[in-house]
């Protein structure tokens, strides 16, 4: 359970400065929290709520909407094996089964040493290279049992540290926005009534007989 470290709080404030409406920063801040602790802790959500000026309930509402935010600890490497149609046709069921045996856990669990979490997931949009998987959202395609084993060995031996950072880190390069380019606070009428609700003066719409499409 951890709030942002002082360093990360500075980063968080810089992230906030990019958005005229602070609530827009929710998702990037959740990523930052996940990067810090490997998953999004409760205290981090409270801290985010304080920084953004919303309630923790609003933060958790956003957080739980996305599968990529984990609210419980996950392994250093999150292995997502696609089980959707293309991959299934190309043998992903067997691959997942093999992965379970190799790692000694069932899909959804984490190895006792905290190294691997295995998940079966829906299509990850690499169908042309089926079957495929992701390790911390880095792709491995045309996966076979053998290539899976060597992947696990390399990960366990720390040989892929450069390519695949621990779970939570999306990228090692962080965009830096200098203070003079911060977005500034939005005027108070922003984010009140959504744009789609303000439209509609009836008589400008739909001239009779406009061709259907």
């Amino acid at each position: 359970m951890a709030r942002f470290t002082p360093e990360n709080e500075t980063v968080a404030r810089e992230i906030l400065s990019r958005y005229p409406v602070p609530k827009s920063a929710l998702v990037p801040l959740l990523h930052l929290a996940q990067e810090q602790d490997g998953h999004v802790t409760r205290d981090a959500m409270v801290h985010i709520a304080e920084l953004v000026g919303v309630t923790p309930a609003e933060v958790i509402g956003t957080c739980t909407f996305y599968e990529m935010f984990k609210m419980e600890p996950v392994g250093r490497y999150l292995v997502n094996v696609c089980t959707n149609i293309s991959c299934m046709l190309m043998g992903s069921d067997a691959l997942l089964h093999h992965a379970e045996e190799r790692l000694g856990i069932s899909a959804g669990d984490t190895t006792p040493d905290g190294m691997f979490t295995l998940e079966g997931v829906e299509c990850i949009a690499a169908c042309t290279e089926a079957p495929c998987l992701q390790v911390n959202y880095r792709y491995r395609t045309n996966v076979t049992n053998e290539s899976f084993d060597s992947l696990v060995n390399e990960l366990a031996a720390g040989e892929l540290e450069d390519e695949i950072p621990p779970h939570g880190t999306l990228a090692r390069i962080r965009q830096h926005i200098p203070a003079d380019r911060a977005a500034g606070v939005a005027p108070p009428d922003v984010n009140r009534v959504p744009v789609w609700m303000q439209t509609a003066v009836a008589d400008t719409e739909s001239p009779a007989g406009s061709e259907a499409n």
Binding site: M45, V59, A202, S206
Partner: protein
């Protein structure tokens, strides 16, 4: 709802609308009106779950889907998201519509447990009803349904059964859009979506009960009502909430002579259907076992049950004895804000007409002088919350004391572009919505207000307010579009009311068009003042000195001198100058700002007669205790903070032999040889609207007519303003003229008003003038609302009714550098009987802490939460101390009437402000 305001503002003229055809009939819809509303207005009810007319549409549930042709051929569209456009053709009953709605319902029912037999909503459930009217006859779903833990508490008052939830987003929208407490939210996604709170952070909103009322299924239930009744067992009457002075309209529902539930009723000028949780749930106090059910009389140290005859006789003897020995001035009548208008009138007539004492006060030293409350140009809630208007709040935290007024103010700011300037001794629940909050040092509110309107004050530092904030607020006032409204009350009971009175004078002078909404909190305090339960007043907002002769004629007598207010009476009692103190539902030990004075008064006065619902700390000290009928137990009327009179409904009988306060007054009068001739609340009301100048014409018929669901604004010539054009109508202009004329007419006798200490009955010459005015007023009232010209307006307003004409500036001694000034405010949940006698609410009282700014806190060098000693000239208390950034430097804030601490024992009601010292090392 943003649309609402435009819709409301648009006058109902047909040629501004659009023609749409609904089910073959051509109707006119207002421009921008949602199809679902237009259809309903013309008698076609489209089924719905998520749409609620007081919230923004979201189109979540798709139940309202209908076939619409806008010229491109028919298509299915959700009618709650569709604004009417010209020549739209709508079919709400076509085969396509029917199939679509059936489909929506079939999907909704896929995950719905259908546990109607054990569901509180069964029998009044839109899902049941609409399944019957618009749903498929049979279910094709045979698979396993989802199972979730049956109800989980999301707050102390509300339980959530997620299996039943249809994800309509009403509760969550209410929480964020209406209440501003987004503590519940949708969690997860798709099939796993559920409403929930953040773990261990409950839906602790003052308005949580509204979600139970608007949930279209039985997913949200109230702890107090679960499994208590079926809707078809309940009978209902409409009434007005008596838990504060906003006067929300409610439906009181009971079964077998027990009130089981209170629901909000949507009246446009007041509560829009919302209630606060105190008003919704404190009905449990009505059914409490601790209610007084029989009179009690003192025998030594004990209070023993007695019959009414004995108790009344004892009370009457005490009163007669006091009259014989000390005269009328030795009797005091304290309280009455809990009473109905009729009760209050009967007591005024008994006290002033029979006993001859003017020592009456419905307020307990925590309010404002009656001429300020009744004598300033008054605003309605709608005027205060006018879209685009500007409102200044000088008073208590509306969220804590007048919760639904808070909702209306919040809506005005957030949804309708109003500007709110707050002047307060510490940040409050409305501060988040204020454009500017000016925090003033306790006792220097008038200084800040002077700076706000650009007058020079006495203090060099703007009463503690931030200069740039004052500048911004001034600019806002200068730019105000139309006349400014002021919400006026007592920000803190630890400082004298004079400062607020002074501030009101300044505002009235600087903003001649300003209107004022009183923020006094007790349920019918405005009615009690209207009925004359205050020193120097008589029923109908007139002064004893102006209208004494008329009332003497009607009543037989009126007091010879102006009497004492609550502070005066308690002081007199403490000094042995009172023989009998009557407490009308008043608990001065808990509620009077100066507990030491109240203690001494109650200990010294020889006889205390109390009429009450419960044995409170004060009534437990009485010699005669008379059990009174309370909310939902008696008929009558009540008056809210706008001066709006509405009808109270009786739903149950009072416990035991408890009876209405007007009966008690009439009985006591009879025992003392006077027949008041008052036989029923209706008869009393007839007398009120004949005698009380401000209430002329407000007949029972008018009050009970169907047009008066929202109540009737008194006096009658005060027209209900259309929210959007209060600043531009001729009516207001005419009123201005009228007021100018009144100014002149009343110019001579204004000064006496403030010095109303020991005046006799007014001089004969003034009587004549007053009577003439009264007659004119009667004529005008007989003709109904005045329309043509200023002269009648002058007459009907009547120079005799109370006016406030300002007071000279009040000065305050400079601050002692070592002490802090006390700020004493209220929380919604406190030690009051309504809260304490309701099992669900009692634990919600937050308890006592001392709140300090971090700067003052750090000077103490203690830990957060450690106990410190707070000492004033009056006494000392031990209390945990916490940091509160909302408290300005130099102030120390406490809540009054909380469990664990009698904060009022620090206050000296005679002092301008209460200075305290905070010390550590309490063990020594």
């Amino acid at each position: 709802m943003a649309e609402d305001t435009t819709v409301d503002a648009a006058p109902d003229v047909v040629d501004d609308g659009v023609a749409v055809t609904i089910d073959g009939t051509e109707v006119r819809a207002r421009k921008g009106e949602l199809l679902i509303d237009a259809a309903e207005r013309h008698g076609v009810y489209i089924p719905r779950f998520c749409y609620h007319e007081r919230m923004r549409p979201v189109g979540m549930c798709r139940m309202c889907i209908v076939e619409v042709d806008t010229g491109r051929g028919p298509s299915l569209q959700p009618s709650c998201m569709l604004e009417c456009t010209p020549d739209m053709v709508v079919d709400t009953t076509s085969e396509v519509t029917r199939k679509a709605q059936e489909g929506v319902l079939e999907f909704l029912l896929v995950n719905h447990p259908l546990d109607c037999p054990v569901c509180d909503k069964g029998g009044e459930c839109p899902l049941q009803d609409q399944t019957m009217s618009n749903g498929p006859g049979e279910s094709r779903y045979i698979e396993q349904k989802r199972h979730l833990e049956k109800p989980i508490p999301i707050s102390d008052l509300v339980l959530l059964d997620r299996e039943r939830c249809i994800l309509c987003d009403r509760c969550t929208r209410f929480a964020s859009e209406v209440a501003g407490d987004p503590l519940i939210h949708f969690l997860h996604r798709g099939n796993h979506t559920e409403v929930n709170t953040f773990p261990d952070e409950p839906f602790a909103s003052y308005f949580s009960g509204n979600t139970v009322q608007i949930c279209p299924v039985g997913a949200l239930t109230a702890t107090s009502y679960r499994f208590k009744a079926r809707p078809w067992d309940l009978t209902q009457t409409e009434s007005t909430c008596q838990s504060c002075s906003v006067g929300c309209r409610v439906a009181v529902q009971a079964s077998r002579n027990e009130v089981l539930r209170i629901l909000g009723v949507d009246v446009d000028p007041v509560n829009w259907g919302w209630l606060c949780d105190k008003g919704r749930f404190d009905f449990e106090a009505i059914n409490s076992d601790e209610r007084l059910a029989a009179p009690l009389v003192r025998q030594g140290d004990e209070l023993a049950p007695a019959g009414w005859a004995q108790a009344l006789r004892q009370a009457a003897d005490a009163l007669s004895g006091a009259l014989d020995s000390g005269g009328p001035v030795s009797i005091g009548v304290l309280g009455g804000a809990r009473l109905t208008n009729e009760d209050a009138y009967a007591w005024t007539r008994f006290a002033k007409g029979v006993l001859g004492t003017d020592n009456c006060d419905a307020q307990l030293g925590d309010g404002l002088p009656p001429e300020v409350v009744l004598g300033l140009p008054r605003a309605t809630i709608d005027e205060v919350c006018r879209p685009g208007g500007t409102v200044v709040v000088v008073g208590p935290d509306p969220k804590e004391e007048l919760p639904v007024l808070f909702l209306r103010l919040r809506h005005a700011v957030v949804e309708a572009g109003a500007t709110l300037i707050e002047v307060a001794p510490a940040r409050s629940g409305i501060s988040d919505y204020a454009t500017v909050t000016l925090t003033h040092r306790p006792g220097e509110v008038a200084e800040v207000v002077r700076a706000l309107v650009g007058e020079t004050g006495q203090s060099s530092d703007l009463g503690g307010a931030d200069a740039s904030a004052v500048g911004r607020a001034r600019a806002l006032l200068d730019q105000a579009d139309g006349d400014v409204c002021v919400v006026l009350g007592r920000p803190s009971v630890a400082e004298s009311a004079d400062f607020v009175t002074d501030a009101a004078s300044v505002l009235q002078r600087a903003l001649p068009g300003a209107r004022f909404l009183s923020a006094l909190r007790r349920s019918n305090v405005h009615g009690a003042l209207d009925m004359g339960l205050a020193p120097g007043l008589l029923p109908g907002r007139v002064r004893l000195e102006d209208s004494g002769a008329e009332f003497a004629e009607a009543w037989g007598a009126v007091p010879a001198t102006v009497g004492l207010d609550a502070h005066g009476m308690l002081t007199a009692a403490a000094e042995g100058r009172l023989s009998v103190l009557v407490l009308l539902g008043a608990d001065p030990l808990a509620d009077f700002p100066d507990r030491h004075l109240a203690e001494r008064a109650l200990a010294t006065v020889p006889t205390i007669v109390a009429s009450d619902l419960f044995l409170t700390e004060s009534s437990a000290r009485a010699h005669v205790v008379l059990p009174a009928a309370g909310f939902a137990e008696c008929e009558g009327t009540t008056t809210n903070l706008e001066g709006r009179v509405s009808v109270l409904g009786q739903k149950v009988t009072p416990p035991g032999t408890a009876r209405s306060d007007w009966m008690i007054a009439a009985e006591l009068a009879r025992l003392m040889g006077h027949d008041l001739g008052l036989e029923s609340p209706a008869a009393i009301w007839d007398e009120i609207c004949t005698l009380a100048p401000s209430h002329r014409g407000v007949t029972t018929d008018l009050l009970r007519s169907t047009d008066s669901d929202a109540g009737v604004l008194v006096p009658l010539e005060r027209e209900e303003p259309a929210p959007a054009d209060v600043d531009s109508t001729d009516g207001v202009a005419a009123e201005d003229v009228a007021e100018a004329a009144v100014d002149q007419a009343a110019a001579d006798d204004t000064l006496e008003a403030q010095a109303a200490e020991a005046e006799g009955v007014a001089a004969a010459a003034e009587q004549v003038a007053a009577e003439e005015a009264g007659e004119l007023a009667e004529e005008a009232a007989a003709d109904g609302p005045v329309e043509d010209g200023a002269e009648e307006a002058v007459a009907s307003r009547g120079p005799a009714t109370l006016r406030f004409d300002g007071i000279p500036a009040v000065t305050l001694a400079p601050r002692d550098a070592y002490s802090l000034r006390l700020v004493a405010t209220r929380k919604l949940y406190d030690q009051g009987t309504g809260v304490q006698q309701s099992a669900q609410l009692a634990p919600l009282a937050p308890g006592s802490v001392l709140r300090l700014n971090r700067y003052d806190f750090e000077r103490l060098g203690v830990e957060e939460g450690s106990v410190v000693r707070v000492a004033s000239a009056r006494g000392a208390l031990r209390v945990p101390v916490v940091v509160d950034a909302g408290v300005p430097r130099g102030a120390a804030a406490v809540y009054v009437n909380q469990p664990g601490l009698a904060a009022t024992s620090l206050v000296d009601a005679a002092a301008a402000v209460t200075e305290v010292r905070v010390e550590t090392g309490i063990d020594s």
